[in-house]
Amino acid sequence: MKHKVAVLVENNPGVLAKVSNLFSRRGYNIESLVVSDTEDKTISRMTIVVDGDERTIEQVTKQLHKLVDVIKVNDLTNDDTVCRQLLLVRVAADRETRGEIIQLMDIFRARIIDIGRRSLIIEATGDESKIEAILKSLQPFGIQEIVKTGISAMVRSPKEK
């Protein structure tokens, strides 16, 4: 099963290598990893999607926590989170299909950010299922290139009663 793990780390040189080293050394499978600084510049946050059973995930979090640079590890899988990933996709488009693609992308609230003679570049954000749905809908037109970021996740704020 896929787990989303949020890791707060000190923003030291080499910290990304330490984390990714740990995954490769212990044979854990990273599906995606996003890292950036946070509201505090000395701290970075990683969102790691890792595939494994409960036991593996328990090991992942425990082993991560042993690293000196790691401040906090949270498994977000069972939390109520918002997840987003960014997709850039280049799809074949000529005068005939362009309109149809643009209409289609409107439904997904995706944007056309570049128009070439024979192709378009589309930008979209969303959770995994939405990104998948977009790609599926574009399939028939001919996808030429895909660039995706990993998943960024944030726990939802508590709602007022």
Binding site: G14, N21, L22, E58, Q59, H65, V68, I71
Partner: protein, 575 residues
């Protein structure tokens, strides 16, 4: 010269000094109670070595190879429980430490390894003797620090020592560019502080007394309880008595892993010896038949469990006590996890335990004891030979081993007297560890009798350090179990590879007598048990160093043996 003697003002804070980075480092080492450092200089650390003479409290031992320095610092740490320290220059000097760091890491030994690095300007440009040591060492140590400014040194050194010895101990690497050693810094000087977050992260939580009471109940209500103790129990000398008293109160057998050999007293109904691949019949019997297994400060290494799926099949409860939460549930499924420092747990358990009685079980355990038989006609059989050596193993003896058959014989047949008296490379199984580790132990305890049990293969991996024995007239007793083989591998080839002895024959050995003579060592050759009887006393009780060349039976193998992949029930006890 801008150097101001800081020793006088060690405790004063907020005093402005202008000092060299090298001085700050050495001062900090002094402040952390470092009295011996093992190392070997080179280009980028000359400025560090240049300042050594101003710090007379730090004794530097020049090894002949950096691997020797790392293992010696490790041996020092194992014998004392303090942090071992070694120095090396950048590039090849530092890479030579790597095996030693990995060895310490696998056995959770506290060390601080200080490595020179090329000047900052050259970093990342493949400068002469540059190697990316923090990258190389990261997967094989507890933490790495790359220093960029000498003013960071007090805090980094303080934190390095803290991290090395707190929680689950381990080696820490500090990488220091040459220009940091010669950097003039103005520091409001103190001995450095450990960040709060790091302090909290590694300081073990207090043992949960309620859970310990539950463990006591489990032991009392179990029919067949047992305890297995591991390296974590070496943290305190008193643990010998505490565990023995627990065994008596609980009326249950205790098994000691390789890393805990000697911690538990031998030759009593509770002691079943070592479990696992080369464990005793009774230890493995006990593990396989117990209904409640209390594991303390051990990590269920595959050499202990053998085939995990058939490990301790009757244990309804496995209690795992470890300081490192990541160890719990890593290999063996545990139904009673308890994160705690071993000594604290043992004290609490001792208090919580009522007097129990497991008479039938204790009897069953005694029934399972098996007396190993030596091969018929053997002139110098290991078991009997080690029994002679064991006569000279007392509370003032530290036994250090290398890796191979001789290591297992030492573990099976020598009875050392408590924690930190049996020093061996368990997790990594590093041949060449023994001799430098024996040197480190002897420097730690000049008055103890350090007996090295080594093999002809292992000894040849670090015998350059004989020069240290010569220089300091160290009274180490080198017992070379000379079988002319890479014996342990030879045994596997015999048992599992149809006697295809591919590259395990150690011919062209040096003339050991001449080698000993070359380094001013006393030499003795032992061919028979009679000679053990007549001659060993002179060497093993001597105040001088000895090289004892045991012509151990080359055909004798290590038994018992559980073939790799088999369950602990499938135990081979001889040919």
């Amino acid at each position: 010269m801008q150097f101001i003697c800081m020793n006088l003002r060690k405790d004063s804070q907020e005093v402005l000094f202008l000092v060299l980075g090298a001085d700050i480092l050495l001062h900090c080492l002094e402040a952390h109670d470092v009295d011996v450092v093992f190392g070997l200089p080179g280009g980028v650390v000359i400025p560090l070595y240049d300042r050594l003479k101003h710090f007379p409290n730090i004794k530097h031992i020049l090894t002949r190879h950096e691997q020797g320095a790392a293992h010696a610092a490790d041996g020092y740490a194992r014998a004392t429980g303090k942090v071992g320290v070694c120095f090396a220059t950048s590039g090849p000097g530092a890479t030579n430490l790597v095996t030693g760091i990995a060895t310490a890491n696998m056995d959770s030994i506290p060390m601080v390894c200080i490595m020179g690095q090329v000047v900052k300007e050259l970093l990342g440009k493949d400068g002469f003797q540059e190697a990316h040591m923090t990258g190389i060492c990261q997967p094989i140590c507890k933490h790495t620090y790359a220093v960029t400014d000498a003013a960071q040194l007090p805090d980094i050194v303080a934190e390095a020592f803290f991290v090395a010895k707190t929680g689950r101990p381990g080696p820490v690497v500090i990488d220091i560019p040459k220009d940091v050693f010669v950097q003039d810094v103005q520091v409001p000087y103190d001995n450095g502080t450990v960040r709060n977050r790091i302090m909290m992260k590694y300081t073990p939580c207090q043992v949960n007394k309620e859970k310990v009471s539950k463990v006591a109940q489990l032991i009392q209500s179990a029919e067949k309880p047992m305890m297995v103790i591991g390296g974590g129990v070496n943290t305190r000398i008193e643990n010998r008595d505490v565990v023995y008293s627990i065994a008596q109160k609980a009326d249950m057998p205790v098994s000691t892993t390789l890393m805990a050999r000697g911690v538990f007293p031998a030759n009593n109904p509770y002691d079943v010896g070592m479990p696992g691949m080369h464990g005793t019949v009774e230890a493995n019997y006990t593990v396989q038949h117990c209904d409640c297994l209390i594991a303390v400060g051990m990590r269920f290494d595959d050499r202990v469990t053998s085939n995990v799926s058939s490990f301790a099949p009757n244990a309804k409860t496995i209690v795992h006590v470890d300081i490192d939460p990541a160890e719990i549930g890593k290999t063996v499924t545990v139904n009673f996890p308890l994160v705690a420092e071993a000594s604290e747990f043992l004290d609490a358990l001792h208090d919580a335990l009522p007097q129990c009685a497991h008479k039938a079980w204790m009897e069953e355990v005694q029934q399972s004891r098996y007396e190993l038989k030596s091969p018929a006609g053997s002139v110098l059989p290991p078991k009997e030979t080690f029994a002679f050596i064991d006569q000279y193993v007392d509370e003032n003896t530290i036994v250090v081993t290398d890796v191979g058959q001789h290591q297992m014989w030492a573990a099976l047949f020598l009875n050392t007297a408590g924690p930190r008296k049996f020093i061996t490379s368990g997790g990594l199984g590093t041949m060449g560890f023994g001799f430098p580790a024996a040197i480190g132990s002897q420097f730690a305890f000049p008055d103890q009798n350090v007996i090295l049990i080594t093999g002809d293969g292992s000894f040849q991996m670090n015998m350059q350090e004989l020069a240290i024995m010569k220089k300091f007239k160290l009274p180490i007793k080198i017992c070379l179990m000379n079988n002319g083989f890479l014996g342990m591998v030879h045994q596997w080839q015999k048992m599992f590879y149809e006697e295809n002895y591919s590259e395990t024959i150690l011919d062209s050995a040096p003339d050991w007598a001449k080698l000993a003579e070359a380094y001013n060592l006393n030499y003795m050759r032992i061919d028979t048990l009679e000679q053990c009887n007549e001659q060993l006393a002179a060497a093993l009780t001597s105040k001088e160093g000895w090289f004892i060349d045991f012509r151990i039976d080359a055909n004798a193998d290590v038994y018992p043996m559980v073939p790799a992949g088999k369950g602990l029930d499938d135990i081979v006890v001889g040919e």
